[in-house]
Assembly symmetry: C2
Homo-oligomer: 109 residues x 2
Amino acid sequence: MRDVLDRIGDKWSLLVVGTLRAERLRFTELQRHIPGISQRMLTLTLRQLERDGLITRTVHAEVPPRVEYELTPLGGTLVELAMALADWAIQNHPRIEASRDAYDAAHAR
Amino acid sequence: MRDVLDRIGDKWSLLVVGTLRAERLRFTELQRHIPGISQRMLTLTLRQLERDGLITRTVHAEVPPRVEYELTPLGGTLVELAMALADWAIQNHPRIEASRDAYDAAHAR
DNA sequence: CCGGATCCCACGCGATACTG
DNA sequence: CAGTATCGCGTGGGATCCGG
């Protein structure tokens, strides 16, 4: 459980698998789809996900080189869960915001 | 989404709400149920969860003081999602482990 | 185009000590 | 019992430069 949380709980992993949900993408395309991610973090995140068997990395022997990433079936199942989480987040975000405001108002001193 | 991930992705929050899933508990009881958590982190985590409206904190005016924490309905819905995630983790952990071993073996140099 | 290697700092978190 | 206060470090991650 900790293992899985460490994977999906970090700053970028979910964003990456979410982006790969629909389409197979190249490194630079991923970078464009995920604003704010640095080259370094994209590389590291992709390596982790590949190591865990959630995505595959295919290098095409061409010049210039082309590397494509796509979800594995295992990664696909995780994405579905993530989407459920996203739904929950969207549905309940207003409630959470309201609760925070109330809390902050009550504890303002 | 980031908001929610920050909440459940941190080191202790899920452990705390998971522990509160079945029963209302006091501070010290929580501490006993979650090995390794420090007083400080338990306090901070509880404050965050309370602020977000996922748990409630009730102080009983007694000596010695008694403070009890329990899940709100909102917190309950989150726990259900978390349990789905836990199921996924348990089911797929062997696969992930295997993938890691294979990856490490292939990249050992 | 797709990264690897370094440098560096903010901050998450643990350890410890103190209090109403 | 249920916290708060303070210190110190480990490390996640951004910026930057280099290389096949």
